[in-house]
Symmetry: C2
Subunit: 82 residues, 2 copies
């Protein structure tokens, strides 16, 4: 398992409710790929959302976000943390 | 105070030690602008570093990272979190 930061762009005007709903959609199916989405942060003005997850691979993160209806634009393994 | 996610690019090959040293450099002066850097994640292969902070403004985050010797490429207010 590793830690991943993924990025969604084009989310201008995203609301708290939409962010929560998207997160719930991920949580509902994440176990299928042994992913866990821990946290997400959104900048509604720039339309950027960052998601932090624990997962077996970037591919696993990609699959869950795609199935949940919001494919990620970038998925980065982040093995270094402070 | 708000929450900010900033992004540094061009950090290919960044090591755990370099990430810790950069974080220490931020912590050493962050109080000057009432910023607190909470966490940072690095993808050494893509050369991307994400920093999460609490700060009075993006400008305050910018100043501290610049004075610490590693200006951010993007600084996003992230008022929405799950």
């Amino acid at each position: 398992m590793g830690t991943y930061m993924d990025v969604h762009t084009g989310m201008k005007g995203v609301t708290r409710e939409q962010l929560m709903e998207a997160h719930r959609a991920d949580l509902a199916i994440e176990a299928d790929e042994k992913v866990h989405f821990k946290q997400a942060w959104a900048d509604p003005e720039a339309g950027v959302v960052y998601c932090l997850s624990e997962a077996p691979s970037a591919e696993a993160v990609r699959k869950i976000h795609e199935r949940a209806g919001h494919p990620a634009d970038e998925i980065h393994p982040v093995p270094l943390m402070v």
